[in-house]
Amino acid sequence: MAFVGQHGCGLMTDLATPWLCRDCLADGISTVINQCPECGSWLLLKHAELRQLAIAHVDCDAFYAAIEKRDQPELADKPVIVGGGKRGVVATACYVARIHGVRSAMPMFKALQLCPDAVVIPPRMDAYKVAGYAIRELMLTLTPLVEPLSIDEAFMDLSGTEALHQKYPAASMVELAKRIKREVGITVSIGLSGTKSLAKMASDMDKPKGFHIIGMDNAAEMLAPLPVSILYGTGKVLTKKLNTAGIKTCGDLARAHPELIIKLAGNNARTLQQLAAGIDQRPVIPDRPAKSISSETTFETDISDVETLAAILEELCDKVAKRLKTADLSGRTVMLKLKSDKHQLLTRSRTLSDPTRLSRRIFETGLLMLKEEVAADRNWRLIGIGVEQLDHAEHADPLNLADPDLSRIIALQDTVDGLRDKHGKAAIVTGRQFARKPKDKK
């Protein structure tokens, strides 16, 4: 709609393309240029819309591994894998390890088969968080419209910042990448376009240390031959459905009859067809407040016993309650997540009559849902629990006629929290959790 059909000055773009040097920030407009006339660098951005595009996606390169290499320079040229545990999976593999075929989410034993020399480092989340926030601070110096997707990834909308920074967005982003390298010590890949979906695609196209631009004028043509699976919102299942219906590329999808797509994709049909045509009207929303608070764990070995699951669940509920408390929040809907040994993911949720911040209430609700799912012949590899429909802590757990002991339970949780804050997490545990501990140590 807004972005297609602007084929203004095709001839001129062919002849003279704006360029920008990623090393010295020199720029100009030229017909043929491959090397920066100022500093001699070969890292030139050349694009007809170089000076207009304002939506960026920033993705840190092998973030966890990069932080480890920054902190242990002797690892610089070694294959580094961040992850852990016997049952652990690869959280991040550095680019050296990736050459050997190691990928994120790969089981550790497989990663080590592929790359026996790899240095395996257990994650240091605190260090990554510090770096993540530092990067976010740098982003915020360019625009308040920063939408973090995770600790190492964010969208930025730099529309209207040109006058402020005396630089068009592409130049600001080039400078941002340099600042992140200089001040945080890691590299990022940047995608620049006119929409979120295209910016994200762009950052994927040139990694690591990349900077890729997807113009809006030819977005539709660029997307047309690409598989539908690259679009936001097409998972495995939908991709398969679309493919079966003969819709393989984004071009097919954009051209397909809307009714057919509604049948296949339901409510998302319209958005999906627009994405396939290069249209994406989703705005960059700064720092979205958390929608849910949850905690999950993957087991060392699969578990089917409900008592063991319950003990683990209870510990996770304690964690969720603790995080609710820290954030001064409560939640009204309790979600349970289970993953079977066959990697089937199952989620269940129940809404309470009032928001709660109590571990016990979250646990009781979670346990009810758990008991409906577990059976002797089902093995689980992961369990998670969380709350959504977040509310202020002060709205949590009002006096309840059906719960005469509520005020005692609240007092109990606060006391236990106090003890744990003072003497550590293991200072006081429930009988259920205590009973489980020795088994772990076998």
């Binding site: 129940r350 609700t365 009810l368 309840n400 006629l401």
Partner: protein, 368 residues
Amino acid sequence: MKLSIDRAALIKPLGHIQGVVERRNTIPILSNMVIRAEAGQLKLTATDMEMDMVETTHAAVAEEGVITTPAHMLYDIVRKLPEGSEITISSDDSGQAQISAGRSTFRLPILPVADFPAISNAEMPVSFHVPAADLKSMIELTRMATSTEESRYYLNGIYLHQTPERQLRAVATDGHRLALTQMDLPQGAETMPSVIIPRKAYTELFRLMEDYDGDVEVGLSDNRARFSLGQVVMTSKLIDGTFPDYDRVVPKDNQRKSTVSVADFSAAVDRVSTISAEKTRTVQLTFSSGSLTISASSVDQASATEVIEASWSDDDLKIGFNARYLLDITHLIEGDDMEFAFAEPSNPTLIRSPKDDASLFVVMPMRV
């Protein structure tokens, strides 16, 4: 099988029986009701596996037999047939049931009777009689307070039990409000277990009593309740859970009291709550000498106030409630007046009718 029956004689039992059958069923046979014609009688049976209902009525049976056929469809057909019609229901070896009346003929699929789940006919160790009017009023007074919260399944019904004072007491609560009513313990109920009657069971029972004014025979076991009303017998599983120790939350010592006219109060709360747009329609009650001010305000700056007469001789009291909870109660109060008994604005409030010693309501206040 072949029988004929007046529409008027058929529609009532069909209406009862189809209420048991769920609209959506994953097991096809559960969408059906059993129609049994024998010895001058038509016997209808339905179940949803949690509860079942059997009702008999007279019919001209030409050929004895038994079939199962879709319950809702049959009911809808009979409902739409003209009043005064003579309806014939028959089946042969065609695998279909035929329903005809006047110029209309319907053919419905039938499923084997053998596939129909067995109906619970277990003995009920406890049995007593309650006048339908009393049982109806017990359900009516308490049902609005039952909870729909799945995770508190033990609140999804009415708790029926006997008290040490030899009362048969019904209680329901969703945690925000509680309704309680009681009657003298009927003879035979002395050994009754405490039971939680699920929503669907008391709802269907209430419907059965709408046109019934005799005694209801109540049979109880540890896991089932059976209600027999003339030609209808309904048996339901009970909710398997423990009802909370509600007695501890019923205020015993709320000293600050006020009496107001139910009609005035109800109308005022209804009017004032119009402007509170949120889901929880909070109204604020302010009691000061001789008057009650009911007020509400919304985030978008609308506000409303109404003053009614009220007896009050204490210090001023400000307290907030969900308007819907108050209105639900005003509809149930017997007589012209209602009495509030307060402690502190954060503690449960007691509401009752000065004319009805046997019933009370407890409401949790809201922050205002």
